[in-house]
C-alpha cells in the first residue's frame, strides 16, 4: 500500500515536472542548468530577460503548423 502511494506520488511529481516543461513554465530553470551557464561563458540573463529572449527566438522561425 505504502509502495503504491509512493509510486503514485512519484508519477504525479514526474507528470507535473513534464507538464511544466511542456508549457514553458520550467524554461528558465533549464536555462540555469545548461552547460553554457555553468561554463560561465556569457552573462546569465534575469528571468524577465530570458523570457523575452526565448519568445523572440521561438517566434522567428516556423513553430506552428497548418
Amino acid at each position: 500500500m505504502r509502495k503504491a502511494a509512493k509510486r503514485t506520488r512519484r508519477f504525479l511529481r514526474r507528470f507535473w515536472r513534464g507538464f511544466r516543461e511542456w508549457c514553458g513554465d520550467a524554461a528558465y530553470e533549464s536555462y540555469l542548468r545548461s552547460k553554457v551557464h555553468h561554463a560561465g561563458s556569457c552573462r546569465t540573463l534575469s528571468q524577465a530577460e530570458f523570457y523575452v529572449d526565448q519568445l523572440n527566438r521561438r517566434y522567428s522561425r516556423p513553430n506552428r503548423c497548418c
Partner: protein, 703 residues
C-alpha cells in the same frame, strides 16, 4: 514464450484492424457506428508504428544511440535544450497540429467517409509519418539545420532557394485560406465575434502579467486566461440576445476580413511578448483539451455515421468544392495524411532538443500518427451529421441559394433529404441567425463537435454553449497560426529584402518592420479578400491551392530525404521515400493541371475566368456588377499564375535532384554527405532529460 505471446498479440491487433477496415470499406445500407473508425485507425497505427517505423529506423536510417545529438553537443539552455522524450513529443505534436487536420477531412467528407478515412490512415503511415521521421533524422545529423539549408547543401544551391521560396509561398496561401475559415465562422455571428474579440484584451492582459508581474510563470497565467476565455464564451450569449450589442458585433465578410488583416498587421508589429505569445499559451491548453474531449466524446457517445461511404459527388460535381475524388480528395485532406509544413518543424526546434536518435521514431513518426487520428476524429464528427445538414452548412449560396427553402429543395434533389425547418431550428438551438452557406468547414465541424459534447454533458440545453466553445477553439487556433505565421513570413521578407536593400534585413528597425509586415500581411490579405468576395465561397478555389502548395512542399522534403538516403548508400531502401514522393508528384501535378486548365469553369481557373468574360460579353452580368466580375476574373487568373509558379519551382527542384542522383549513381561525382562529425555521447543510457533529475555525463537515473 514471451516472443510467441508478443507475436499472438500483434497478430490479433493486425486482424482486428483489418476486420474494422474491411467493415468500413464493405459495409452498405444501415449507418455504421463510429467505433469501427476508432478501432480501424488505432489498430493500423499500432501495427504501422510497431513494424514499419521500426523497419525504417533499423534498416533505412540505422539510428545510432551512441552518437551525441545536437542537444548534447550544443546545450545552451535556449535553442539546444536536452528534453525528455514525452515532453518533446508534446512540443512536437502541439507544433504540427494545426487547423488543417480538422478542416481538411471535414471538407473531404463531401465524397463520403470512405476515401478520406482510407487516405488519412494509409497516407499517414506510408507518407506523412515517414516524411516527418526521415527529415527529423536528417536534421539531427546536421546540427538541427532547416529544410532549406539541407536542400542547399545536399541537393544544390538553387534547390535551397527553391525550397525557401516554396516555404514563403505556402505561408502566404495558408494564412489567406485559414483567415477565410475564421471569417466564414464569424460571419453574421455576434456571439462568436464577441467571444473572439474579447480574447484580444485577455491576451494583452496576460502579456503584461507574464512580462512584468510574474515573468515566465506560464501555468498560472494560462489558468487565469482560461477562466476569462470560458467566461466570455458564456457571456457571448448575453451579447447575442441584446439587440443593441448584437448589432455592434454582427459583421459581414468584408468587414471581418478587414478586421483580421488589421489584427495580423498589429500582431506582426507589436513585441512578441505582448500579444502573440500569450495568445499561444491560451490556445495550447484549449487545443489539448478540445482534441482530447472530442476523442473521449466519440468513444463515449459512439455516434452512428450517417454519411454514405461514397456520395454522388465523387464524379467532381461536389457543392463544397469542385473536382473528382482523384486527385482532389488527397489535396483536400492535406495535413491529416501528409504535410510539407511538418518538415519545417521536424527541421526546426525538435532536432535541437532530442536526446537520442532512436527517439526520432517515437517523436517524428508517432506524433504524425496522432495528428492523423485527429483527422479521423474530424471525419467522424462531420459524417455523424445528417448529410443534408452537412451540405446545407458547407455549400455556398451560389450553388444552393440564400434561403433555407431554396437550399432544402436543392439538397433534397441530390438525394440527401432535408427540410427548411430543420436548418432554422438547428441555427436557433446553437444561438446563430443562420447556419446556411457557412463554408470553410469550421461551422460544420463545430456543429458536429457540439452534438457529440452535448450528448455527453448538458444535452440540448448546452448545445449553443458547446457550439460557440468549438467555434472559439477553432478561431483561436487559426488566429494563433495566423499571427505566428505572419511573423515568420515577415522574417523571411526581411531576409530576402535585405539582399536588395541591406537595412531591410534589420528585424528590429521600425521602418523595416513596418514595410515587411505590410508586404506579408498585404499578400495573404489579398487572398483573404479574394475568398470573401467569391460567390462560390472562396474555399472552392483557395483550399485546393493551399493543398497543392502544402503537398508540393512535402514533395520537396521527400526529394531532399531521397537525395540524402542515396548519398548514405541506402539504395536498396530508397523506395521508402521514393514511393510517397512519386505519389505526391502525381497528385499535385494532376491537380495543378486541372486547376489551371480544366474546361470545367468550377475547377479550372482559366476556364472560370473565360466563363465570366463570356457572361460579360453576352450581357448576362448586370452593369452594376461588371467591375466586381472583372475583379473575380483577375483573381482567377492570379490563382492560375500562382499555381503555375509553384509547379515550375518543384519541377526545377526535381531536375536539380535528378542531375544530382544521376551523378551519384553513375559515380561521375562523389556523394558528399554534409553530416556533422561523429561524437560519442557522454550521457548514460537511462538519461531522460536535463529537467529530470539527471546530470550530463553521470549515470544518474530518475529520482
Amino acid at each position: 514464450m514471451k516472443r510467441a505471446f508478443s507475436f499472438v498479440v500483434w497478430l490479433a491487433v493486425a486482424l482486428l484492424g483489418a476486420g474494422a477496415l474491411g467493415a468500413i470499406a464493405i459495409h452498405r445500407g444501415e449507418p455504421l457506428n463510429a467505433m469501427w473508425f476508432v478501432i480501424a485507425a488505432l489498430c493500423c497505427y499500432l501495427v504501422a508504428f510497431r513494424l514499419y517505423s521500426a523497419f525504417v529506423a533499423a534498416k533505412v536510417l540505422a539510428l545510432d544511440d551512441t552518437r551525441a545529438t545536437p542537444a548534447e553537443r550544443h546545450d545552451d539552455g535556449r535553442d539546444f535544450v536536452p528534453t525528455n522524450k514525452w515532453v518533446l513529443f508534446g512540443h512536437h505534436f502541439a507544433a504540427i497540429a494545426g487547423p488543417g487536420p480538422l478542416v481538411g477531412p471535414t471538407l473531404a467528407a463531401q465524397f463520403g467517409y470512405l476515401p478520406g478515412t482510407l487516405w488519412l490512415i494509409v497516407g499517414a503511415a506510408f507518407g506523412g509519418c515517414v516524411q516527418d521521421f526521415v527529415i527529423l533524422f536528417c536534421s539531427i545529423r546536421r546540427d538541427g539545420k532547416s529544410l532549406g539549408q539541407m536542400a542547399r547543401e545536399e541537393v544544390s544551391r538553387r534547390g535551397g532557394i527553391i525550397a525557401q521560396l516554396a516555404v514563403l509561398a505556402i505561408i502566404i496561401i495558408l494564412l489567406g485560406v485559414i483567415a477565410l475559415v475564421v471569417v466564414n465562422a464569424l460571419r453574421a455571428s455576434p456571439w462568436a465575434t464577441f467571444t473572439i474579440s474579447m480574447t484580444l484584451p485577455i491576451a494583452l492582459l496576460l502579456g503584461v502579467y507574464l512580462r512584468f508581474l510574474r515573468p515566465g510563470k506560464v501555468v498560472e497565467a494560462s489558468v487565469i486566461g482560461l477562466a476569462f476565455v470560458l467566461f466570455v464564451v458564456v457571456a457571448g450569449r448575453w451579447v447575442a440576445e441584446s439587440p443593441s450589442w448584437a448589432h455592434v458585433f454582427t459583421l459581414g465578410g468584408v468587414s471581418l476580413a478587414i478586421a483580421i488583416i488589421i489584427y495580423g498587421y498589429i500582431a506582426s508589429v507589436l513585441p512578441v511578448w505582448l500579444l502573440l505569445a500569450p495568445r499561444d499559451y491560451l490556445i495550447a491548453f484549449i487545443k489539448a483539451g478540445a482534441i482530447f474531449s472530442l476523442a473521449a466524446g466519440i468513444l463515449f457517445v459512439r455516434p452512428d455515421v450517417l454519411m454514405p461511404p461514397l456520395t454522388r459527388f465523387v464524379d467532381g460535381t461536389g457543392p463544397v468544392f469542385a473536382g473528382k475524388i482523384f486527385p482532389f480528395c488527397f489535396i483536400t485532406i492535406a495535413c491529416g495524411a501528409i504535410s510539407g509544413f511538418h518538415s519545417l518543424i521536424s527541421s526546426g526546434t525538435t532536432p535541437k532538443m532530442i536526446l537520442r536518435e532512436s527517439q526520432a521514431r517515437f517523436i517524428g513518426y508517432g506524433a504524425m500518427l496522432l495528428e492523423s487520428f485527429v483527422g479521423v476524429m474530424a471525419m467522424v464528427a462531420a459524417c455523424a451529421m445528417t448529410p443534408g445538414v452537412y451540405f446545407a452548412i458547407n455549400s455556398p449560396a451560389g450553388i444552393v441559394g440564400h434561403t433555407a427553402e431554396a437550399a432544402a429543395t436543392t439538397i433534397s434533389s441530390w438525394g440527401y433529404h432535408i427540410d427548411a425547418q430543420t436548418m432554422t431550428q438547428l441555427a436557433q438551438s446553437v444561438g446563430e441567425q443562420t447556419l446556411l452557406n457557412r463554408t470553410g468547414g469550421a461551422p460544420s465541424l463545430a456543429v458536429g463537435m457540439a452534438q457529440i459534447f452535448s450528448s455527453t454533458i448538458g444535452g440540448g440545453r448546452l448545445l449553443g454553449i458547446w457550439y460557440h466553445f468549438a467555434i472559439m477553439f477553432e478561431a483561436l487556433f487559426v488566429l494563433t497560426v495566423l499571427d505566428a505565421g505572419t511573423r515568420v513570413g515577415r522574417f523571411m521578407i526581411h531576409e530576402m529584402g535585405g539582399r536588395l536593400w541591406k537595412p531591410l534585413a534589420r528585424t528590429n528597425w521600425l521602418p523595416a518592420v513596418l514595410i515587411c509586415s505590410a508586404v506579408i500581411v498585404g499578400s495573404w490579405g489579398y487572398f483573404l479578400y479574394q475568398g470573401v468576395i467569391d460567390p462560390l465561397g472562396g474555399i472552392n478555389s483557395l483550399w485546393p491551392l493551399f493543398g497543392i502548395a502544402n503537398q508540393l512542399l512535402a514533395a520537396v522534403a521527400l526529394v531532399v530525404a531521397t537525395t540524402i538516403l542515396m548519398k548514405m548508400g541506402r539504395l536498396r531502401w530508397l523506395w521508402v521515400t521514393v514511393i510517397p514522393m512519386l505519389a505526391l508528384i502525381i497528385i499535385t501535378m494532376t491537380s495543378s493541371y486541372q486547376k489551371i486548365l480544366s474546361p470545367n469553369p468550377r475547377i479550372g481557373f482559366l476556364s472560370g475566368a473565360n466563363d465570366l468574360a463570356a457572361q460579360i460579353a453576352g450581357g448576362i452580368v448586370p452593369a452594376a456588377r461588371i467591375a466586381e466580375t472583372h475583379r473575380l476574373m483577375f483573381n482567377l487568373r492570379l490563382d492560375a499564375v500562382v499555381t503555375s509558379i509553384l509547379v515550375v519551382m518543384i519541377l526545377l527542384l526535381i531536375v536539380e535532384a535528378l542531375v544530382q542522383w544521376y551523378g551519384i549513381l553513375s559515380r561521375r561525382h562523389e556523394a558528399v554527405l554534409h553530416e556533422s562529425p561523429y561524437i560519442a555521447t557522454r550521457w548514460a543510457p537511462d538519461f531522460s532529460g536535463a529537467g529530470h533529475g539527471t546530470v550530463v555525463g553521470d549515470a544518474v537515473g530518475d529520482d
